[in-house]
Amino acid sequence: MTDSTAPGGQAVELVINGIAVRAEPHMTIVEAAWAGGVPRVTGVGCLEGVCGSCRILLRRGQDVSVALACETFAEPGIEALFLPPPAAARHQYELTDFTDGWDIQARFQEIFPEAVRCRHCHGCVRSCPKGIVVEEGIALAAAGRFREAGEAFLECVMCELCDSACPEQIAPAHVGLFCRRITAFFHLRPPNLIHRLEELRQEPFSSSGDKESA
């Protein structure tokens, strides 16, 4: 799969999970780990940056950052460390627990009490590989503006790198997802869908009729 050597490309030496690896240039960190036989790299899923599994810590000289390994390329001298999957969530809720949209702000505060304690350290924003305005999203959620907050997290892949960076343990990705979910749960009432459901309630679909087939 990884015959991606640019003609004449120089091999790149880097360290992955403490193991020295020689990779071809243009390889991603995932491909480099495979090529180098680094064992137990199972935090890999879609290989296109949407499943959020291949979380790594990266060291380039003094500079330490986090990233997704399938979107990060082998560079000479860097060190990459695959991170364990995110810890189990601290919050607990089921959407069916909510019956009344009017008290949703109060319920949000109960479920995510940390959200109002954001200290605007930008840790989450700096660690997000998807360029999401995490901090702004959290402020919107804390203000009860759930629809807008949820929209900010549209491209969130739930890697939870932001969570690892948050000193207040706000679990920003889960806050964002909560905002998206309750917006759909309480507000998405599309007339075309509702109309069809009502038609089907009155006359359930049965294929045996074949009324319309010509």
């Binding site: 390889m27 680094v38 499943c51 089921e94 491209e155 917006t183 869908l193 294929s207």
Partner: protein
């Protein structure tokens, strides 16, 4: 393959406002398919000699896995810890999550075991959307006809009827789980038209439909009090009763330390998805890393009948460039929105909204006959004309296809100015385990839902029907499994079906050194030493 143009030459010649000649007259679709579709490649198909489908056609590499030895034996099970549960769901994609939620809603204790992390799946990557007949001019009947026709009438009408009838209710259920969909200004669900269909019927969440679906279902499953989740615990074998005739559990292996554990249960739901990572016929794939066809292998050894094992969907528009994204998808939604396909001569060669197998075969024909575009890094492809689309509808790419822009940005390509090079990629397994409308396979106690199941899409699937199927049939299987009768008394768990399969292999003179399921592709470090 005749040599076409180099990428540089083709780019230099490209103009987004160039005049296009009318579409040339199209040859008979059956001839096109038989000459150019990968399913019809010489040597790609063989005949199975053992098992419930003995005598049937099967893709060659898949046949090798279906007729292989199990990876474990009775001795391996000694001392393995045993866990009891009502329903075991194997696979944590969309079908598995829907099945787990439905079973739990119906009072079952559910264990969901998955190979990688919950949600690492083909589902999370789906872009285009999900089909449901909800527009005024549309109907379940039309949806059914489109599905059967696109599948060359090989689909099972009863299953298709169940799926299309579920459509609107599936969307409501997803909204109740907290999934968002794009709306029009008046609040209706926004719909797009998919290739090979008679009405706009695709509902979607921008081009992140699968991501939105998967993160919502993952959260719903993780938060559900009645569902336990075991990540990184692939199933390596099923368990049967003394006579090897009923499925009573499964053997899981921890990816971290390869320790085995036994799960004993009333019903097992296979939701292991597809097999793109087997790279059939040497094609790149759009699939996630865990798509190695394990469910087919396990079901077949247990004695479940499978169908359409020689029919796969190659998606017409896989990326060719850069190499590390080779095989990754450009959503069909973009052709639905009006993007054209052009060969190296800058001309159209197929109606872009024909069913996928036709479009695929047409692209392969252009490339084989010397009208393809060749980048230095290898491979070949044709243009997907995104700049022309952007010119016609300024801002469309940014508004409706942010995922495409995000991905190509990393690769240094801006599809608003530069057309995208595409070539068919192994995308979807059309067939799978034979099921009934409850998702029950031909083996008692064993259910299958999602891409691992077959019978709905016939020999070709239209876009958006997979996401509908996984939720519709995932829920059906979950409910049936939860409500299936309790057995009295302690159950005996055995590997009798494995012994039976081994006897059959030996009798047929087939080699016993090949083992399956594969779990991970051989080019991963973990796949190498397994």
């Amino acid at each position: 393959m005749k040599r076409g143009l180099s990428l540089q030459a083709a780019l230099a010649a490209y103009r987004p406002d160039a005049e296009l000649a009318p579409l040339p007259e199209q040859i008979d679709p059956d001839r096109l398919l038989s000459f150019f579709h990968p399913d019809h490649l010489r040597d790609s198909v063989t005949t199975l000699t053992v098992g419930p489908n003995a005598g049937a056609h099967c893709q060659r590499e898949l046949a090798g896995l279906l007729q292989a030895e199990a990876v474990i034996d009775e001795v391996d099970l000694a001392g393995a810890p045993v866990t009891d549960t009502d329903v075991l769901v194997i696979g944590g994609g969309g079908a598995g999550c829907a099945a787990a939620l439905a079973a739990a809603e119906h009072g079952a204790r559910v264990l969901l075991a998955t190979k990688l992390r919950l949600g690492d799946s083909n589902t999370v990557m789906a872009e285009g959307g999900i089909q449901a007949a909800i527009e005024p001019g549309d109907s379940a009947q039309k949806h059914m006809q489109d599905t059967l026709r696109a599948g060359h009438h090989a689909g099972d009408p009863a299953l298709v009827a169940a799926m299309v009838g579920d459509g609107p209710e599936v969307i409501r259920w997803l909204i109740r789980q907290g999934m968002q969909f794009d709306q029009t200004a008046s609040g209706d669900l926004h719909t797009r038209r998919a290739g090979g269909t008679s009405a706009p019927r695709i509902v979607h969440c921008r081009d992140y439909t699968g991501l939105e679906m998967m993160r919502v279902l993952r959260e719903a499953v993780a938060q559900h009090r009645g569902i336990e989740v075991w990540d990184q615990h692939p199933a390596v074998e099923l368990l049967s009763n003394e006579r090897g005739q009923k499925c009573v559990g499964a053997v899981l292996s921890s990816l971290a330390d390869r320790r085995l554990c036994i799960v004993r249960t009333r019903s097992v739901i296979l939701a292991t998805g597809g097999l793109g990572r087997l790279h059939l016929n040497g094609f790149p794939t759009s699939n996630h890393l865990g798509a190695t066809g394990d469910g087919l292998v396990l079901a077949y050894r247990m004695g479940a009948r499978l169908c359409e094992l020689d029919s796969f969907q190659y998606h017409p528009t896989g990326l060719v460039n850069p190499p590390y994204l080779s095989g990754k998808l450009v959503t069909e939604g973009i052709r639905a929105a009006g993007a054209l396909l052009l060969n190296a001569q800058g001309q159209r060669f197929v109606d872009e909204l024909q069913p996928r197998d036709i479009v695929c075969a047409a692209i392969i024909r252009e490339c084989r006959e010397g009208r393809g575009i060749h980048p230095d890094t290898g491979g070949v492809g044709v243009w997907l004309d995104t700049p022309r689309l952007e010119r016609g509808q300024p801002g469309l790419l940014e508004r409706q296809f942010p995922k495409l822009l995000a991905r190509t940005r990393v690769a240094g390509i801006d599809p608003r100015n530069e057309p995208i090079l595409v070539y068919p990629t192994l995308h979807y397994q059309n067939g799978g385990a034979v099921i009934d409308v409850d998702g029950a396979t031909t083996v008692p106690g064993l259910y299958a839902a999602g891409e691992v199941a077959g019978g709905i899409h016939g020999r070709n699937r239209i876009m958006g029907n997979a996401l509908l199927e996984i939720i519709g049939f995932g829920r059906r299987a979950g409910i049936a499994a939860a409500l299936s009768g309790h057995d009295r008394g302690p159950k005996k768990i055995t590997l009798e079906h494995v012994n039976r399969a081994r006897r059959a292999l030996a009798l047929a003179g087939l080699p016993l050194d090949r083992r399956a399921p594969q779990l991970l592709p051989p080019y991963t470090a973990a796949g190498k030493n397994s």
